[in-house]
Amino acid sequence: MPPTLFVEQVLNGFQFGLMLFLLAAGLTLVLGIMDTINLAHGSLYMIGAYLTATLVGATGNFWLAVPLAVLGTALVGMLLELSVLRQLYRRDHLSQVLATFALILIINEVVRMIWGSQPLLLSTPEGLSGPVEILPGLYYPAFRLVIIGVGLLVALLLFWLVNRTKVGMWLRAGASNREMAQAMGVPIKPLFTLLFGVGAGLSAVAGAFLGPILAVQIGMGESILILAFVVIVIGGIGSIKGALVGALLVGLVDTAGRAFLPLLLSQVASPEVASNLGPALASILIYLLMAVVLFLRPQGLFPVRT
């Protein structure tokens, strides 16, 4: 196997993992602090991508469109929190799963009403569509490098927010013991609305940057949402560090599995078996990873509550 291919796949996995982290971060905080399962988190990712595509069309400038789309999605997220999710904090998980499942159906149809059933075109911003030579003989798409940069930057910002600011301290207090945090005077209600907005904004960032690579279409948020859940379950619910480790793990394992498993199998098995089994194994690899992690550590890698 050529080393350039290996480096390229590792970078791809890293890039995908960072975007997964943006989705998983909001999800894990909502789940850890509010004890609320939000399946509609993927819908916010979809809204982010649709808003970006529309705003790029209107302004012609990707770098102007993204912040506006992130802001818009954050507003939608806060509206959702105020109208529906707030009712669900005290309810059991089953109700939360079903209510947010209903939200997915509703948001999908509303998006279909506004934008139609056809996928939207969101192209990579000009100047970034070509490859760059990052190592001698190794060309890598410039836009994917930008994604890695943005992902790292947002991750750093988030860590600073959670670990170094007062709001972050409240969040961590809420994640480890909500009642106690409330008793100590943490303004839980506005904090939850704000947190929801931040989570929505983060998923919009992921939607905006993955949109040009994947596709902007209805249902795009659902498959990636399940991956984000795998990430936070592996990492431990409520832990930002766990979300980062889990996301990079899932991103790398998924990408590497798809790229290398069929190759590896073809060396030990007949081509027919390899071409059948390779993709099958690769697609279930991360779920196997999750099953193994949960079997060994039912609370994930970095449990928050003890």
């Binding site: 789940l31 399962i37 529906v84 009712q87 309810r91 998980h93 089953l94 109700s95 799963v97 079903l98 209510a99 499942f101 209903a102 939200l103 997915i104 159906l105 509703i106 999908n108 149809e109 509303v110 279909r112 009403m113 659902e222 399940i226 859940f229 795998v230 379950v233 619910i237 059948n276 993709p279 099958a280 697609s283 279930i284 779920y287 196997l288 999750m290 099953a291 949960l294 079997f295 039912p298 609370q299 994930g300």
Partner: protein, 304 residues
């Protein structure tokens, strides 16, 4: 008077095919078959979800596995219905056992997510086997029972029979010692444990029973549509079944049946009205969850 309504309903169901044939309402006979299949699947989910308190988000895996067993075995030239049914139920039970052994170690959100993850595994596995249709799905011819031919009408009666038998057994089960313990575990797991009940084993048995029953429902679904596709295994299908259970009433005996009937009818009506029918389904579901958490069976019971 408690038996009056069920007996009348049963009479109507038994008399429906000849009436439908005479009046040209064949479409509704098919719809009723589909509703009964979903009633079976939703009731099996209600057993673990409602009575066992296990929020399994992967019930479509067993449903789809049952359906795919029919299609694949028929494709491979095994046409005996008895073999196919036994294989489908057996495989679904085995899958439920394997998933249950690992998943039941976890609780709460982790349990919901790990059952979902396992169902996704099955989904992607099925999609990647190109010789069995991959994403396009596969034709599922109807197998041979020997002493009768499986057509739309016999399938209707067969499904009715299976549903009645399953409901009878489930009624016996939830009112047996086993069922009581299961509900005790749902109410307070540590207390059940302290009383000396092997909680894990009770839950696992219920989990396997529910999986096997869902597999059987999948078999009937394959006989009904004569075609299987990965959408049977998709996570939306698991959500769909959960929707039926909560719509009908979680842990209410008739919850699964009621929810399957009402949701299927509502979908049918909305699909006729608008292409945005899922919006209607979503709004109804949201209202049920927010304002009638005990479902339709709960609403009916409150009035009586």
């Amino acid at each position: 008077m408690r038996w009056f309504f069920p007996v009348v309903l049963l009479g109507l169901l038994l008399a429906f095919p000849p009436i439908a044939a005479a009046t040209g309402l064949d479409f509704y006979q098919g719809l009723l078959t589909k509703i009964m299949v979903y009633a079976l699947a939703a009731s099996s989910l209600n057993l673990i979800l409602g009575y066992g308190g296990m929020v399994s988000f992967g019930h479509a895996a067993y449903f789809g596995l049952g359906a795919y067993t029919v299609a694949i075995l028929m494709r491979e030239g095994i046409t005996s219905a008895w073999v196919i049914w036994a294989a489908a139920v057996g495989l679904s039970a085995l899958l439920a056992f394997l998933i249950g052994v690992i998943s039941l170690r976890t609780r709460g959100v982790y349990f919901i997510m790990i059952t979902l993850a396992f169902a996704q595994m099955i989904y992607y596995l099925v999609i990647s086997f190109k010789q069995y249709g991959g994403e396009d799905g596969l034709r599922a011819r109807r197998p041979e029972f020997g002493f009768f031919e499986l057509n739309d009408t016999t399938l209707y009666y067969l499904t009715l029979g299976v549903l009645l038998a399953a409901l009878y057994l489930m009624h016996r089960l939830v009112h047996s010692r086993f069922g009581r313990v299961l509900q005790a575990i749902r109410e307070n797991e540590s207390r059940a444990l302290a009383l000396g009940y092997p909680v894990f084993r009770f839950q696992l048995v219920a989990f396997v029973l529910a999986g096997a029953t869902a597999g059987l429902a999948g078999v009937l679904m394959a006989h009904y549509t004569q075609y299987v596709s990965p959408s049977l295994l998709a996570w939306q299908q698991s959500g769909h079944l959960m929707m039926m259970v909560i719509l009908g009433g979680v842990g209410q005996f008739w919850g699964g049946v009621l929810g399957a009937a009402v949701l299927s009818l509502v979908e049918e009506v909305l699909q006729d009205l608008t292409i945005h029918w899922q919006l209607g389904v979503g709004v109804i579901l949201l209202f049920i969850v927010l304002f009638a958490p005990r479902g339709l069976a709960g609403l009916l019971r409150r009035k009586v």
